[in-house]
Amino acid sequence: MTKTQKGKGRFLSGNEAAAEAVRLCGPQVIAAYPITPQTTLMEKLSEFVAAGEMSAPCKLLLVESEHSAMAAVMGAAMMGSRVFTATSSQGLLYMCEMLNYVSGSRFPVVMANANRGTATPWTIFGDQRDSFAMRDSGWIQFYVESGQEALDTILQAYRIAELPDVMLPVMVNIDGFTLPHTYDLVQVPEQKAVDAFLPAFKTFNKLSLEAPKCMSFAYGPDYHLESRCLQQKVFDEAVGVIERVDEEFYGLFGRRYHGLADTYRCEDAELVLAVTGSAAGTTRVVVDKLRAEGKKVGLIKVRCLRPFPAKFFASLNSPQNSCKVLGVLDRNISFGLEGGLYTDAKASMYRPGAKINTLGFVAGLGGHDVSKADIEVMFGKLANLAEGKPEEEHQFIGMRWA
């Protein structure tokens, strides 16, 4: 039996896989407000709580809004509880204020966000404009490719968040509807394996009558800058922790995701496409097809938006690296500039005389499908640029009118 066959293989949607992870991690308090496409995740968790199937006694709080959901889990975290919440889209935007409270006060809240576009135009369908809008909220942000990765990343998220050197909140982004509502075979680890990986949560950063605390207070102009510098340093620290925890996870569960960014067939690749989330699966298939045709193409799967794999992108510019043109697929857009991932990737690679050319693609907004054909078109454009043919730097791909 190989390591990957450990535990039970079960036919689960991405939301159900995420709920299984939360059940195994045993938060003491869950607070959430329903929103598509997160809803079935919370439905599953409420079934677990009602049936007493959570791995630890759990209180499910039904709150009146997402702002209250985040405030409620922050309150529980202040008492030293392991907590969980989940949301999507407008719900995440509504939480925005509390996201910043939680991160600045260093409460290790774990949240699943089933990605969905933001109104208006109103949409219930998937893109990553919701979580990209929360980029600067001080949360670690993961993007996953499958239900299995959603489950595994939530296990890792609690481990990372609760380490004393980190103590940051973590958002696990699950591309709606592609992942939350698609069923796939998922390995659900056994409880004792999870318990070995994730110790009970203990923190000094909590309220108690014996050791009174002052929490979530103000820093005036005299130290505000210094406190933000410390917050940035914690993110620097988190880079190594995320990589280390992934290694540790691999040792116990036989699955790994390679820290902040994973690569596929990049060893000698000249044309490389960087993506987040579910588009990675589609891109793997296209890379295999183009490789079979003899084209030197590869995939970068950006797993973490924050902390950003800046060193990894910088390394693409080294003379030893085969990459000639980097394309970036964004399922989000910052109006007035470009896709957010593209901005960060370019900035990380910048140096005078950089050898790599870049193209930014925006696709898959509001549930618009990112097809294999679309990915092929993107690689075709990277090839054009490599051959010296002109290409616009910013392009929308897959539009009805090309």
Partner: protein, 99 residues
């Protein structure tokens, strides 16, 4: 003179002395508010009847009642004047800083 709960204020000398996130032990205030003040409250103890209205109303908890006479912690008093406004005996007057 400070209320007993509040420890003496000192500026953190090193990053390690900054609070963990913005949470720390109770009784530590990170920033002295005294620089905000234009008028400072001055208590005339001879008029004070220790009704403790000022102690209750002070939004920053800078009124101390441990001593025989009430005290005011000028590190953290921001000079809002609520105490003077609420005092039924007009025992607190607001005096311009520097005068």
């Amino acid at each position: 003179m400070k209320p007993r709960l509040i420890r003496d204020f000192h500026f953190p000398a090193r990053p390690e002395e900054l609070a963990f996130g913005v949470c720390t032990d109770a009784g530590v205030l990170t920033t002295a508010n005294s620089g905000w003040r234009v008028f400072r409250p001055v208590l005339d103890a001879s008029k004070c009847i220790r009704c403790l209205f000022c102690w209750v109303y002070c939004p920053d908890g800078v009124i101390g009642k441990e001593e025989k006479d009430l005290t005011i912690d000028y590190d953290y008093c921001k000079g809002c004047g609520v105490c003077a406004h609420e005092c039924p005996k007009k025992a607190i007057s607001m005096v311009k800083e520097g005068e």
